[in-house]
Amino acid sequence: MNDNKDYLVEIKKNSKEFRKKILLMSYEAGHSSAHIGGAFSSVEILSTLFTKFFNYNKNNPADPSRDRFILSKGHGCLVYYSMLSSMGYITKEELKTFEKNGSNLLGHPVKNQELGIEFSNGSLGMGLSIGIGLSIGYKRKVKKNKVYVLMGDGECNEGSVWESIMCAPNFDLDNLITFIDNNNFQQTGSNDEILKNKNLKSKFENFGWEVFEVDGHNEEQLLTTINKLNLNNKKPKAIICKTIKGKGISFTENDNKWHHSVLTKSNYEEAIKELENNEIG
C-alpha cells in the first residue's frame, strides 16, 4: 500500500507536468488551434500508465522488449507528446514547435521512431486494429510485450472500431489493453446530441472482452485496476474511463468549445496559475 501511495504522488506530479506541457504546446500553436479538451481528459490515464506500468527504454525508443502504445484518438496528441517528452524522447524545445511549419509534432501524430511516435493517427477508428495485429504477433512469437491502445468514445462512432472489437476476442489477446476515454463529448456536441453510445461496458462485454469501469481521473482506481489485470486469461481488456473533457482547468472543463480552440496568452497564464495553486496531495 505504501508502495501505491508513493506511486500516487508520482502519478499526480506527472499529471500536473503533462497538463503544463499541453498548455505550453497549445499556447505555442497560436491561431492554428489545439485539441485541448480531449487531451486533458486523457491525462490521468496516460500518467498512470507511464509512471507505473509502461515498459520502455529511455535510450532506445525501438527496444524490441518495449510495451507498445497506440493513440487511436489521434487528436489527443498533446497528451501523447507530453508523455513522450517525459520518457525523454521529445525535448521541451521540440514541444514548442507543435503545429509549426515543418515540425515533427503536428496536430495528429506522425510516425517517427526517434521521437517514440509508433504510428500515424488522426483518421479515427484505425488504432485498435493495429493493436490487434501487434498483439497477435507477440503471442505467436511468445513475447511478453503488452499492447496499450487509447480510444475516444466519440471515435467509437466509427464502424471500423466495431470490426476490431469483434475481432480481438477471437485471438485470445490477453496482452491487449484498451482504454476508452469516455468524456461524453465529441467534436460538435455531447454524445447524446450527436450519436448516442451508452452502455459501452456491456457492449464490450457482449463482444467477449473483460471490461472494467473506472473514474478516469482517479489515479488510485486506475492504478488498482491496471495492477490486477489478469494477463493470462485469454481475454482482451477494455478499461472504460469516465472522464471530464477539459479536466484540470476550471474554464475548460465540460466546455466543448475547448475541443479545438485557440489558447490566448491570458488563457495560458490563468491556466498555469490555477495548476500551480493546486497542491498535490
Binding site: V110, M126, L128, G133, L134, I136, S160, E163, M166, C167
Partner: protein, 321 residues
C-alpha cells in the same frame, strides 16, 4: 523463383486465384515469417490447404476489410512478411483509407492480393467486377501495383514483391483455364515491361490476362500485314517510363488495353508519361468507358466493352486504314 513447364501448365489450368494459394504453400515452406491474412475468403483464394497446415502463419479476421489492413499493419510492424487477400473491390476500395494511412503514409509493408479483379465476375454484377481499383490505389504514394499476365507471372511477382521495399498491390485477373502468356521461365523485374511480340505499325500496351486477347488481335492484324508490337506492362506503378518513351518515339499509334476504367488505370499512366515528351504519336484507350453495364460472363463482358480480340483487331484495323 523458378518456373518449369509443369508448373506453368497446372497454374494456367487452375487460374490465378488457386495458383495464389499454391504459391503461398510453396513460400511458407522456406519462410516461417510469412503471415497470410484473409477476410473469410480462404477457399476463393485457394488457401484451404494452407489454412489447415500452417495455422500459425494464417490469420482470418472475418468479413471486415478495414480491420484486415490494420491487423496486417501490426503484424508487419513486428517484422512478419504479410500478405493480405480478398476480392479486389474489398481489398482496395473498402479499406482504401487504411491503405493510405498505414501503407502509404506510414510506409508499413504489406503485399495485398486482389482476387478476381477486372471483369471475370461480371455475372455477379459490379459490386464484384472491379474496374476502379488501380485508379484508387495509384493515387496513394509509396505503393506499387502489379497486374500479372498469367498465373506463372503471379508466381514470379509474388516472390519479387516480398523482396521489395514497401507495399505492393497485386491485381489478379481472368478465371480458371487462363491463357498461358509466358511459356518458359523468364526474368521478371518489377517496373520493367516485357515485349511479347514485335511489329512496326502499332504498339499495344496491356497487362493482366486481357493480354491474351491482345496477342490474338495482333495475330489477326499480322494476317492483314499490319505489324503489331505487344508490350506486357505488368507493373502499373512504378511504370516503365523508359520503355514508354521509346514506344512513343517509334510508333505513330499506341493502343492501351485494360480491364479497368479508362480513367485512372494503365492507359492514364501511359498517357501521363507520353504527354511529357511531345512525341508525334496518338494513343487509343481501350477499356471500360467510365460506365457500368448489365452483367454477364467473362466473354460477354469483354465483348460489350470492346476488349475481345476481335473488337481490338477491328478497332486497330479501322485506325490504321
Amino acid at each position: 523463383m523458378k518456373l518449369d513447364k509443369s508448373k506453368i501448365k497446372i497454374f494456367s489450368q487452375i487460374g490465378m486465384r488457386a495458383s495464389f494459394g499454391m504459391v503461398c504453400l510453396e513460400l511458407v515452406k522456406n519462410n516461417n515469417n510469412l503471415m497470410v491474412c484473409t477476410a473469410d475468403v480462404s477457399t476463393s483464394a485457394g488457401l484451404d490447404r494452407y489454412r489447415k497446415k500452417y495455422l500459425d502463419n494464417y490469420v482470418d479476421v472475418g468479413i471486415a476489410e478495414q480491420n484486415l489492413i490494420g491487423v496486417a499493419t501490426g503484424l508487419s510492424d513486428l517484422g512478419y512478411d504479410v500478405i493480405t487477400t480478398t476480392f479486389s473491390p474489398f481489398q482496395t476500395l473498402r479499406c482504401c483509407e487504411q491503405i493510405k494511412v498505414n501503407l502509404g503514409y506510414m510506409k508499413n509493408k504489406i503485399i495485398m492480393v486482389g482476387l478476381a479483379s477486372g471483369l471475370v465476375l461480371g455475372e455477379l454484377g459490379f459490386t464484384h467486377a472491379s474496374i476502379e481499383d488501380i485508379g484508387a490505389i495509384r493515387s496513394i504514394p509509396n505503393l506499387k501495383i502489379i497486374s500479372p499476365s498469367d498465373s506463372g507471372e503471379l508466381f514470379k511477382c509474388l516472390g519479387s514483391s516480398l523482396n521489395e521495399k514497401g507495399s505492393v498491390y497485386i491485381r489478379l485477373t481472368g478465371g480458371a483455364n487462363n491463357k498461358i502468356i509466358n511459356h518458359d521461365d523468364y526474368n521478371f523485374e518489377i517496373g520493367k515491361s516485357i515485349e511479347l511480340r514485335s511489329g512496326k505499325d502499332v504498339c499495344i500496351i496491356s497487362n493482366g490476362q486481357i493480354i491474351s486477347e491482345c496477342l490474338e488481335a495482333s495475330t489477326l492484324l499480322e494476317d492483314d500485314n499490319i505489324g503489331c508490337s505487344v508490350i506486357n506492362m505488368h507493373t502499373i506503378k512504378p511504370i516503365d517510363k523508359t520503355k514508354i518513351r521509346e514506344i512513343a518515339l517509334n510508333f505513330k499509334l499506341i493502343v492501351t488495353v485494360e480491364e479497368h476504367n479508362i480513367i485512372g488505370g494503365l492507359g492514364s499512366a501511359v498517357a501521363e508519361e507520353i504527354s511529357q515528351i511531345g512525341a508525334n504519336t496518338r494513343q487509343i484507350f481501350l477499356g471500360i468507358n467510365d460506365s457500368y453495364a448489365k452483367g454477364g460472363n467473362y466473354v460477354y463482358m469483354k465483348e460489350i466493352f470492346n476488349i475481345s480480340s476481335k473488337k481490338i483487331y477491328q478497332r486497330i484495323k479501322n485506325e490504321v486504314k
